[in-house]
């Protein structure tokens, strides 16, 4: 315990804080700062935070910058001595000597900037130090759709540069020149538009003046309230602070104290919000009459739906009806959707978009560990020594987590990337194992082979906590490693070195994405990934584990809530009589469906075979996002009745018999569960657009209409019901979620869990499985005619089908999908960057613009699927993961032809 005297008051403190940190903790915000920011490393450039320091009582005093000077035992700090008050004012005057005179106070009808507030606090509005030479005539840079600069107002605090370096890790902003004439530049002195800027807005949030600002002038807009909520775009689960005035969103910032995303979001989270009141929004229920969708009242729509569903149920049985829930919706809504299907309709035909993304993760991790969820937390990155990223491009698809991984790699932690594409992380990785798409199994077996052959194992862990190791060892030592080398196209020595680095790291942590799951052998790959963590003892403590980067904001939650045909809410098997009894009791019903339901691809097959007659799709554009679009079209056309809940007209909603206009996440409350099992509050930011209803409210309405008494949609009430049904939600209540949420399992007393499996697995011992490499039938059947492998992925600026992001200025940042092709292939095919090319598979064809790059190897093509103009899923096939049927988006046999 150390002692410090702040303005003659005695306090005790511990650890190694700076003077500023101690003073803030003990005495509050009594030291003004400007270059300092809590989310950035101390910089010590503005010197405004200077204080008088004596090392002993009545000792000589020295002026020190409090932001970077460590507090030491017995120090006497004087925060407002006459001298330091004078010094601060003088510094502020110096800053004003090179700052526009008309910007010292807030602009008309705007809030003051942080710097303007500082001036007010210091009582300085004018400078005595008149400058002969100033920099207040800089040209503005306003061409970027979101981020703008007026560097005349720059006070050289370098917060923007540091935010770009320390938070985002892009190094776009730099300081050019030296001394008095130094200035902030973008890249090599270009503009935001021409630079490699990823529009995360961290610089905007960091800037204390109006020097870097955004389209919405988010920080100086007057507001009625700031609503804390959670981003709807990906599974990272970024917290957002939304400014609202007169029922309109004025701008979004990231809370500085958010555990998930302190001061950081990506372009989507911070800026892509204008979809919410876009004129395209559906605002009335529609019923298809004579082939045309016409507006009707909610009552008419509900009656029509209830009638139709009851009739189909009567005629064909409840299993002729299928439901697809949405990982974009809240836990409460997903819970209601599956409850509606099971307790009201009476079928287990309920599935969700996890089917097309992370179902193999849930399945594979359940098989290996007993729990199908991330074992650790993202903050564990600070405690790890080695990061393995396989089949994931987090700097685009999970940007905030991607940046955190990049930051750690730049700090010298070992980074291993296994990916067919040279991703941003692969560029800085210590080991990039650039395998041929579809060969994850072979590569991970090589990895495991070297762990075992070179005895890089945690024998203790293997012995005490796993079963199946000896069988695995016997099998793996028999494999032909040279054959694997040929299949994967990755140098076996490189794999050996990477395996050694992983095993010797101390703490090693793996992250995987859809490049693992969306394969013929997706579930198996997940199990092999679990193996290598178990072999090296990297389970059950900080900085280790197997961590799926969940795709959608609530894909974890949707599965937790029972949006799966084989398991109900809380992952309880629907074919177990005990469980059936449990659910009957909880739902207060007499009968419950007993056999496992259909998965999404099975529902489509059923629709084509006429065994499925009706479907209800909540918030998913299956026509654009599911594979083999023509097959999906045939299925939806084969249905007698299709209900779609949506924000916007989509290719799918156009085919519906009934369209129900839903409210967006800004317009409702509930909870999302992010990829690290963190249940977070979604708060209502604005009222629903007139004519729309929250998806949950729609479910409640229809349940009541069909005779099931379900209480109205409220997060608080529903969470109580969920906590009663889902065991690992036992202690979750709306109140105790707080601002940073809770990570499940949450025990009855409200305690949450950061790390899973620390003592034992849910299933006792960790299960080690062996699988040999199997070529996907997609290639076996088609590669002769279609010699290229197309692998699909995501870009930073758009979210999946782009329904939302294409209705925001993001469309001006990234305007189209394109096809990456290796220069050698491009040369052979006579293709240049910018050419429109024809892309053909066994299912169909499309036209797309080419982009020649060595980020893909020869024989491999890569594209996104954000734009309906391209509709890349016309090409993708019917092969799915052997265990879960998750489509193989990552390996499609295609050919490419020059000339559109």
């Amino acid at each position: 315990m150390k002692t410090i005297y702040i303005n003659n008051n005695k306090y005790n403190f511990e650890g190694e804080p700076t003077i500023l940190e101690v003073v803030r903790e003990k005495a509050g915000d009594i030291i003004p700062v400007i270059c300092h920011h809590n989310t950035l490393e101390p910089h010590g450039s503005c010197r405004i935070c200077s204080v008088d320091v004596a090392l002993q009582k009545d000792g000589p005093r020295k002026v020190m910058a409090s932001c970077h000077t460590p507090a030491s035992d017995g120090m006497h700090i004087f925060t407002d001595s006459e001298r330091v008050v004078k010094l601060r004012k003088n510094i502020a005057e110096l800053v004003l000597s090179d700052y526009p005179e008309d910007k010292t106070e807030a602009a008309k009808n705007k809030l003051p900037t942080e710097f303007q507030r500082l001036l007010e606090r210091l009582g300085v509005y004018k400078t005595r130090y008149n400058a002969k030479e100033t920099h207040t005539d800089q040209e503005k840079d306003t061409l970027h759709p979101y981020i703008k600069s007026d560097l005349s107002q720059c006070i050289r605090c370098y917060r923007c540069v540091r935010a770009c370096d320390e938070i985002q890790g892009k190094f776009i902003l730099n300081i050019y020149g030296r001394g008095y004439d130094n200035r902030i530049i973008k890249d090599s002195d270009s503009s935001f538009t021409d630079s490699e800027c990823v529009s995360c807005g961290a610089c905007v949030q960091a800037c204390p003046t109006g020097a870097i600002y955004d389209l919405y002038e988010s920080k100086i807009q007057p507001y009625d309230k700031i609503v804390h909520t959670v981003c709807t775009y990906c599974g990272v689960g970024c917290n957002l602070e939304v400014r609202v005035k007169d029922g309109k969103i004025m701008g979004i910032e990231a809370p500085d104290d958010a555990e998930v995303n302190a001061a950081h979001t990506c372009i989507k989270g911070r800026y892509a919000f204008e979809f919410y009141n876009h004129p395209d929004r559906l605002t009335t229920p529609l019923i298809k009459k004579n082939g045309r969708q016409v507006p009707v009242s909610w009552d008419e729509a509900y009656d029509h739906i209830a009638n139709k569903l009851n009739k189909i149920k009567e005629q064909y049985g409840p299993d002729a009806i299928g439901g697809i829930s949405s990982s974009r919706c809240t836990n409460e809504e997903n819970y209601l959707m599956q409850k509606f299907m099971r307790a009201v309709v009476g079928t287990n035909n309920i599935d969700g978009c996890a089917r097309v993304c992370h179902a193999p993760t849930a399945y594979g991790m359940q098989k290996a560990f007993g729990t199908g969820a991330a074992t650790n937390s993202i903050t564990d990155l600070e405690h790890t020594d080695c990061i393995l990223v396989i089949g994931a491009n987090p700097t685009s698809a999970h940007p905030v987590t991607g940046s955190k991984i990049k930051q750690q790699a730049m700090k010298g932690k070992t980074l291993i990337v296994i990916d067919p594409v040279k991703t941003e992380l692969a560029e800085i990785a210590d080991y990039h194992l650039q395998l041929r798409p579809g060969t994850n199994i072979a590569l991970l077996n090589m990895f495991a082979y070297y762990l075992i052959k070179n005895d890089l194992l945690d024998h203790e862990f293997i012995k005490n906590r796993t079963t199946g190791f000896e069988e695995f060892k016997e099998q793996i030592l028999k494999v032909n490693i040279d054959e694997y080398e040929r299949i994967t196209t990755v140098d076996k020595h490189l794999v050996e070195k990477a395996a050694e680095a992983f095993a010797k790291a101390g703490n090693a942590m793996s992250f995987h994405g859809l490049g693992v799951t969306e394969h013929y052998t997706g579930s198996r790959t997940v199990m092999l990934l679990a193996n290598i963590s178990m072999f090296t003892g990297n389970i059950g403590r900080k900085g280790v584990g197997v961590n799926p980067l969940r795709g959608q904001n609530n894909v974890q939650g949707a599965a937790d809530m029972g949006v799966q045909p084989h398991q109900g809410a809380g992952y309880l098997d629907v074919n177990d009589p005990e469980i059936q009894k449990y659910y009957k009791e909880k739902y207060g019903i007499e009968t419950i469906p007993e056999k496992e339901g259909l998965k999404i691809p099975e529902m489509f097959d059923g629709a084509i075979n006429k065994t499925v007659k009706a479907m209800w799709i909540m918030g998913e554009d299956v026509m654009q996002t599911d594979p083999n679009t023509q097959h999906v079209r045939k299925a939806l056309e084969g249905l007698d009745f299709l209900v779609v809940q949506e924000l916007f007209p989509t290719e799918t909603s156009k085919m519906a018999d009934v369209v129900l206009p839903a409210a967006s996440f800004f317009e409702k409350e509930g909870t999302f569960t992010n990829g690290e099992r963190r249940i977070q509050k979604v708060n209502k930011v604005v009222e629903p657009i007139e004519g729309t209803k929250a998806d949950g409210q729609i479910m409640v309405d229809i349940m009541n209409r069909m005779g099931y008494p379900q209480k109205g949609y409220s997060a608080d009430v529903l969470l109580r019901e969920i906590a009663d049904v889902v065991p690992f939600f036992a202690g979750v209540t709306w109140e105790n979620l707080g601002t940073n949420g809770l990570q499940w399992p949450v025990t009855k007393d409200g305690k949450d869990t950061k790390i899973l499996h620390s003592k034992e697995f849910k299933i006792g011992k960790g299960q080690i499985h062996f699988f040999d490499f199997e070529e996907t039938p997609e290639l076996i059947d088609n590669r002769d005619k279609y010699p290229f492998i197309l692998t699909t992925g995501r870009n930073l600026e758009h979210y999946n089908s782009g329904t939302m992001t294409r209705r925001t200025p993001n469309k001006d940042v990234l305007t189209e999908d394109n096809l990456w092709i290796n220069p050698a292939d491009a040369k052979k095919k006579g293709i240049k960057t910018g050419d429109r090319v024809r892309l053909i598979s066994a299912r169909g064809e499309t036209y797309i613009k080419a982009f020649v790059t060595d980020k893909v190897k020869e024989g491999v093509l890569r594209s996104t699927f954000h734009f309906p103009e391209v509709s890349i899923n016309n090409l993708t096939g019917d092969i799915g993961d052997i265990e879960t049927l998750t489509p193989e988006y990552k390996v499609v046999a295609v050919d490419v032809v020059a000339g559109g």
């Binding site: 010590g44 010197r47 002026v63 910058a65 510094i91 006070i155 050289r156 001394g179 008095y180 010298g412």
Partner: protein
Amino acid sequence: MAKDKKQIRIALRNCGFINPENIDEYIARDGYQALGKALEMTPEEVIDEIKKSGLRGRGGGGFPTGLKWELTRKVEAEQKYVVCNADEGDPGAFMDRSILEGDPHTVLEAMAINGYCTGASKGLIYIRAEYPLAIERLKIAIGQAREYGLLGDKIFGKDFSFDIELRYGAGAFVCGEETALIHSMEGLRGEPTVKPPFPSESGYKGAPTNVNNVETYANIPVILLKGSGWFASIGTEKSKGTKVFALAGKVNNVGLIEVPMGTTLREVIFDIGGGIKSGKKFKAVQTGGPSGGCLTEKHLDIPIDYDNLIASGSMMGSGGMIVMDEDDCMVSVAKFYLDFTVEESCGKCAPCRLGNKRLYEILDTITQGKGTEDDLFKLRNLGNVIKDTSLCGLGQTSPNPVLSTMENFYDEYLAHVKDHKCPAGQCKALMSYIINPDACVGCTLCARVCPVDAISGEKKMPHVIDQSICIKCGACFEKCKFGAIFIE
């Protein structure tokens, strides 16, 4: 080399006596014996010897060298570095360059000893690219030392390996500051960062790093060979050994001198320097380079050491010493140094970046004859703000030339702002060329050379200069054969 009287050569002992491109000549003068001796001792014993010698950093900071080594030694790490700061940047100072060009092996030998003591196997010399000859000689010396097994693996057959590489600086003054120097070596902006962490804990690439200046290193082998007691017997109580100064300005003998600590300024300027040129009157001496201060007549008998110079309002710095006479305007001198500081400020912290520019502008206003007494208040106030609040040593010392000249020559400042006169006659804007009608014979020569036609008058009649047109170029003054034009 100026006159040898009162000088002792330790750091410069070999300069001029050996062929710097021949390692044998260095060895013939006891070269690398100190390294051999050190390797027979424990690192602790060597550090103890350096500590006992009382050697302090010659780059200007004056931090005890032995203590610095010990701090780096105590930090546990797999990789450590020792660095030689050869980023000599003070205008007029060239002692480091002379050592590097004249005796490169002494630096290599000392760095190896440093590596042995601190536990570093790698040495880096950060040298400015403007020193091509020094770079060339260092390269030759490193090559020869490697060839002789004095650098590389198992030096002297002991379990000690050490090698040295060069790193080039682009000549930014601030890169002499050790954290800025380290950043520059890492390929980053040459900007200081906050301390702690000190380089001894986290320096080059995050590894513990010991940075010493060239002249400091040059003392090391001698201390080990002749003993700390011998070294400590030279100098004052708290400043031991000798110091090399670059004597320049208005003295008769200019050049490098090496004198024991404790020698007075009077001895340096009048005995070694041979007094003021042209029999003019001594006015001031700037020590410590642009970060130092101006000392006057009253300081001439103070023994020069780290502490006395600071107490007098100046500093040791790297050993620049510029002597001024009665013709020097102290406001202009301060402005000259500020011009340098403004140019060399990295721009990171606000007081240095903005404050020095404003200081310069105020000084400029004063030398233009447009200053007021309020400007003098601003100068002093601002100078203290910069001194108290700047991030690194450059900023903290940059107002010294202003503050010390104001302290010692306030009347001269007052003359500029109150009477709009420059007593030394240096500030052109404050001068008037005037024709003495009694002496003017009306030869018209002045009117003919005046580039702006400011001079008028009939032939054989006294001429007049129109002050509103005159640009004070002095052409008339130069040309007048009758001494009729004078400066007021």
